[in-house]
Structures are given as C-alpha cells and as structure tokens.
Symmetry: C2
Subunit: 134 residues, 2 copies
C-alpha cells in the first residue's frame, strides 16, 4: 500500500523499519463474528472526511473503489445510523461525506487509542525495553 498522507493518525510501519521497538494498540468492535469497526475502516472514514468522495478516498489509500464501497456499506449496516452519506447536487456535482455519527465514531476510536497508550505509558515503556532494538 502506498504512503497515504490522509492517514494522519495511522502508524507507518516502514518508518519504523529499524530502531527502537514500539507498541501499537489496535481497537476492534466485534458484532458477533464480524469486525464492525476496525483500523482500516477508521482510516477510510478519515480519508472520506478529507476528500468528500469514496473514490478519492479509495485512491488515496491505494484501495479499489469496490473495496472501499464495500467497507462503507459494511460500516453503515453495522451502525444504528449510517457513518457515510451520499451528497447529491451542489457545485461539485455530489460526493460523499461523514454524518455526525461518522464523525463521532472516528473521534471516539482515535481517542480510545491515544488515551489507552497514555494510560499505560509506564508498562508500555517497560515492555518495549525488554525487546532488542533492530
């Protein structure tokens, strides 16, 4: 997958190809056996928020339009109210955008990741220090 400037909060594994070990925390909301919300969907919602378009968001993530559309369809059905809506008309001839629910999902998800890292800072520091640098 190419670098994606829209993934503001995403980790960039290549950037860590050498040096100090780091801990990543990843949240997933499971509904039955399915992942209702996970890191890939959150990255996609952020890209849609930035581009106002599912196809531009897909392109920026190196993902097919079909795959992006399916992920949007999945998250819209997983939530009680949709995260993404199609906006028709307007100067740019329509596109997509996040709903209030979509924005809330992204905010809560990122806040959980960041807050969890901060809350566990001491233990994370100790665990990571047991791992050799590369």
């Amino acid at each position: 997958m190419p670098d994606n400037p829209l993934r503001k909060n995403a980790q960039t594994p290549r950037a860590n190809a050498s040096g100090t070990p780091t801990l990543k925390l990843r949240a997933r909301v499971m509904a039955g056996d399915a992942i209702a919300i996970g890191p890939g969907k959150i990255d996609l919602l952020e890209a849609i928020d930035a581009t106002k378009s599912i196809s531009a968001a897909a392109k920026s993530m190196g993902m097919s339009y079909r795959r992006a559309w399916l992920l949007v369809d999945e998250i819209n059905h997983a939530l009680s109210t949709p995260a993404v809506v199609t906006v028709t008309g307007g100067a740019r001839g329509g596109g997509s955008d996040l709903t209030a629910t979509g924005h809330r999902v992204v905010t809560l998800y990122r806040r959980i990741e960041q807050h969890a890292m901060k809350a566990c800072q001491a233990d994370i520091g100790e665990l990571v220090a047991l791992v050799r640098s590369t």
Copy 2:
C-alpha cells in the same frame, strides 16, 4: 482452533457470536517490520507456563509443535534475554518453562490490555453503543 482452557485471558469470539457488540484492544510490539510480541505469542507463553512443555502447550492451542517452537524461537531472539528455557533432567525428564523475563512480559502485556480497557471505559461504552446488536 479448539477451545483452549489455558487461555484464561483470551477472548472467545464464538461466545460472542450473537448479542451485544464488544470492543477488543490488542497490543503488538513491533521491532522493525516484525511483530516481536503479539497476542498469539502471549497465549503461547501462558500455555507453556501452565504445562511446562512446548509440545503440551502447542497441543492445548491446536497448534503444531513446529509452529510453537518457531514462535518461541522468535520471541527468544526478539528479547534481550529469553522468555522460555529448556529444563533438563528432573523427575519428569525435562521440559520448558518461562524465565523471569517471560513472566514479566506476560504480566505487562495482560496489564496493558486490562488497564487500557478500564481507562477508556466511557469512550468504549459510547462507541460500542453506536453499533447494532446482532
């Protein structure tokens, strides 16, 4: 994979096949591009601690001995001091056991997961409530 009574702290996805959505937080320590410590290795260390044997641990997890051995080799090399040692002799003719480092890795890893969930309880509750029950 069969049920594994040794995985005290592991989530059981099948048990959540219907009902209220739940959030899972998973930690991984990355060393370069490799996962030095992740949920599978921690489950395996716990199983070795319980069985004092890599082969019994592998069996209890429905994993091949070869796979378990490779995971142990990976984590031993990823850490500054090994997590698992071979114990020779003794009444039971030898086996494997966790080192102090191995125990510490498991303790820190589980504490990070549990502490992170607790620290983010309110946001997790709000996020999960946005997802439909199945």
